[in-house]
């Protein structure tokens, strides 16, 4: 019902907006209807209408007009399709939405690998290949940016800091309900013939291509709005909603990683919004930002775009670091090694992430004098990254490691990210980059970072928190099969890609020279193997959600707050506000308690905690 209202209100918004734009166009003497100008202008109205219809009006905005807000009465599974303000519902909404997007983008990858199995244009022509490739990249980037933060930043973070919800629950719901328009725009773009720029949308091509390109811009812009709103909410939540005793250095490292990610998102997402906006204006309003013939500068686009999109790499990977460190400590049964250095590493990455963007532009014709500084800054950023890596290794050292499924994924992240990170050092080196720019070496590198790091951590997090979220256990054996299948498939796909890249295989092409055929076929085989591993995951995920054995409150024996409450947690999370007494990683310290959750004997346990 909610969604129907949203769609209707969104359609009404589109029509009103379109009428307004057409009136303005007619008044200025232009033809009233022109699909791109009208749609770009009406999009804002459609978005507003959708949000109002989907619940903003009923539950939020009515008091602004002197009417009482509707009481929220939805219960049961319907809550997941409504404007629900419970952070746990929103977390699940994010998780399912972005998992769906992940699997769709994965199917596009399968299609691409099928095309690349042999020389020549087999099932896709170049244009179709470029469309599929662009959608695959865009959707995967959206997943990497938003899935972990949206799902677990929402579901787990408030519980971990001892809060009953986010700081702004309604704003939280709004940030999720901005995601469906992103899907609509991507679908529209696909149905209208796609776009051929890749997810980077470089001008001037992105200004000139077909109407699908406009919808890509609108999709990215809308996702940006959602990210900014969500990031703001997370930052304020961590600053103001921590339980008593939850000092900054008692925060679980996952909370730190999401907090730093949110700061990056709040600052830098504005720039991708700007990049998209300027392209939209060039397409529809006759401006010439990126048209060199009229004094514009195509390179300006790359600067604005990468000023967001390099920090966005950290928006994708820092939550993965947080998850990995979290798993490594809980499953090594040891305190997190060098906790403060790891936090410093997160903050160091945050501080440096704004001064490395031009390493994407070494061959774009940027000023040569800038190459060395960007080479240096890029290689320097591996130092704070190293802090995090060493913190993980130090924690594993002499630990009593429990090889659970989430722990396997965390170890997988460490292995894959090491390869992804080290090849990044090569690519930051200007002479090497000039050779390898736009080859499969780059493709392999960022897949090792984002898929091997970010997405592996996402799946680890799903296995880890699934019992808390659903109240049911996932099948352990199937989980292990999935991990090894995915790990082998992943490396079988992307390790050979480094070699393909060194041999000169270009990115973003449907066809290649015959000499590269056998290597490409091997990569494709690896890719299909990787793709099928998710069938096991899906079967396990769905079956366990419906019929899995009931989960205890704390199946992993972990110390953080979310495991001290029932699975799944009650609506307000804690019966009474918890009081935090010590850091969350005190494994092996006799008598150490992370927090007191009230109930019988609170004062005694508090006294103990204070003395300890």
């Amino acid at each position: 019902m909610t969604i129907v209202r949203g769609v209707v209100a969104g359609a009404v918004g589109y029509v009103l907006g379109a009428a307004l734009i057409m009136a303005i166009r007619a008044a200025s003497g232009a033809a009233a209807w022109e699909v791109e100008s009208v749609t770009a202008g009406a999009w804002l109205f459609a978005l507003t209408g959708w949000l109002l219809g989907v619940g903003v009006w009923r539950y939020w905005a009515r008091p602004w007009f002197g009417r009482p807000a509707d009481t929220y009465t939805t219960t049961g599974w319907r809550r997941y399709f409504d404007f629900d303000t419970d952070h746990k519902v929103i977390g699940v909404q994010y998780l399912i939405t972005f998992l769906t997007m992940f699997f769709m983008a994965g199917l596009f990858a399968m299609l691409m690998r099928y095309e690349l199995m042999g020389v020549g244009e087999d099932i896709l022509n170049s244009d179709q290949y470029n469309s599929i490739m662009s959608l695959h990249g865009t959707m995967m980037v959206f997943v990497a940016v938003a899935a972990t933060v949206g799902a677990f930043g929402n579901y787990v973070l408030p519980i971990m800091i001892g809060a009953d919800d986010m700081a702004y629950p309604k704003l939280n719901a709004l940030s999720f309900w901005l995601v469906p328009p992103v899907l609509v725009a991507l679908t529209a773009s696909f149905l209208l013939g796609g776009y051929d720029t890749g997810w980077t949308g470089y001008a001037p091509l992105s200004v000139k291509n077909d109407v699908g390109g406009l919808f890509f811009n609108l999709a990215f812009f809308s996702l940006g709005l959602s990210s900014i709103v969500g990031a703001l909410n997370i930052i304020v939540t961590v600053i103001t909603m921590r339980a008593r005793g939850m000092t900054w250095f008692r925060l679980p490292i996952f909370v730190w990683s999401i907090f730093v990610t949110a700061i990056l998102s709040l600052i830098f997402t504005q720039f991708v919004g700007l990049a998209m906006l300027l392209v939209i204006l060039d397409r529809t309003a006759g401006t010439v930002f990126f048209d060199p013939a009229s004094g514009g500068q195509p390179l300006l686009y790359q600067n604005v775009f990468w000023f967001y999109s390099h920090p966005a790499v950290y928006i994708m990977i820092l939550p993965a670091f947080g998850i990995t460190l979290e798993m490594v400590s809980h499953f090594s049964r040891k305190p997190l090694f060098a906790y403060r250095w790891a936090v410093g590493g997160l903050l160091g990455i945050m501080g440096m992430s704004s001064v490395v963007w031009a390493h994407h532009m070494f061959t774009s014709g940027m000023a040569e004098a800038l190459r060395k500084p960007f080479l240096a800054s890029t290689e320097l950023i591996s130092i704070p990254t190293g802090f995090i890596f060493l913190s993980a290794l130090g924690t594993l050292w002499l630990g009593r490691i429990r090889y659970t499924v989430p722990m396997l994924f965390a170890l997988g992240v460490l292995f894959n990210f090491l390869i992804g990170g080290l090849t990044g050092v090569f690519l930051a080196d200007v002479p090497v980059d000039i050779q390898l720019q736009d080859t499969y070496f780059v493709v392999a590198h960022f897949h090792y970072v984002i898929l091997g790091g970010g997405i592996f951590a996402l799946f680890g997090a799903i296995y880890y928190w699934f019992p808390k979220m659903t109240g049911r256990m996932m099948n352990n054996r199937l989980g292990k099969v999935h991990f090894w299948w995915m790990m082998v498939g992943f490396n079988a796909t992307f390790l050979p890609m480094f070699i393909l890249g060194l041999q000169g295989m270009n990115r973003r092409i449907a066809d290649y020279t015959p000499g590269l055929e056998s290597a490409n076929r091997a990569v494709s085989m690896g890719g299909f193997f990787l793709g099928t591993s998710f069938v096991i995951f899906l079967a396990n995920f769905i079956w366990s959600w419906v019929k899995g054995p009931p989960a205890p409150d704390n199946p992993w024996g972990a110390r953080t707050l979310e495991w001290q409450i029932p699975s799944p947690p009650p609506h307000e999370n804690f019966e009474i506000p918890p009081i935090v007494l010590a850091d969350p990683y005190g494994y092996g310290e006799p008598g150490s308690v992370h927090a007191d959750l009230g109930g019988n004997g609170r004062s005694e346990s508090l006294e103990e905690g204070v003395q300890a």
Binding site: F268, L274, L278, T287
Partner: protein
């Protein structure tokens, strides 16, 4: 429960403080957008401004927007004092001045369209910057209109936070213009 006093105390933030922090973070984020636009402007145009840009209109609308910040300031203080009548009066003055500002921009756009259309280097920057700013002014006017209507009916007698938020947003839009005005008209 006496021992809790010895614990580090957190989570003592009131709703008002939470709201204020959020609002300022929003301004911080928006500042990045406007900073990006300014950098774009200097990248494309250097330190030139078009000689045909109207100095008279520029100065007049700048003065009007600054004046509206003063009336908005008075409205906020009246609201915190619980003075419904004065809040409403100053909000309506702010609304009026804001509307005149938008009219001034519209008037100038009509002139600028022939002098430096969007298809030229300066026109591209000029229309984009004034347009994005005017968009923020118009959303600000919508907020102010809602505030005016609600304050008139006494809905903020108990809690002046909505007035404070709307007025702060209005000031923020003014701060943006403080940088846009010299970047577009003076230099």
């Amino acid at each position: 429960m006496t021992t809790t006093e010895t614990l580090p105390m957190e989570h003592t933030t009131s709703r008002l403080q939470i709201n204020r922090i959020g609002l300022w973070l929003f301004f911080f984020s928006e500042t990045m957008l406007f900073a990006g636009i300014l950098v774009t402007r200097f990248t494309l145009l250097g330190t030139e401004v078009h000689e045909e840009v109207s100095q008279t209109i520029g100065l007049i609308i700048t003065a009007i927007l600054l004046a509206s910040s003063y009336t908005a300031f008075r409205a906020e203080h009246a609201a915190h004092r619980g003075d419904r009548e004065e809040t409403t009066r100053y909000l309506s003055m702010t609304l009026g001045l804001g509307a005149v500002f938008v009219a001034g921009v519209a008037f100038e756009w009509a002139e600028a369209f022939s002098a430096f259309p969007p298809g030229t280097e300066f026109g591209t920057v000029f229309f984009t910057m004034t347009g994005i700013h005017a968009f923020h002014v118009i959303t600000g006017l919508i907020f102010l209109a809602l505030l005016w209507n609600n304050s008139r009916q006494g809905r903020y007698d108990a809690d002046a936070w909505p007035v404070e938020a709307g007025v702060k947003y209005w000031h923020f839009v003014d701060v943006v213009w403080v940088f846009f005005y010299p970047a577009l008209y003076l230099l």
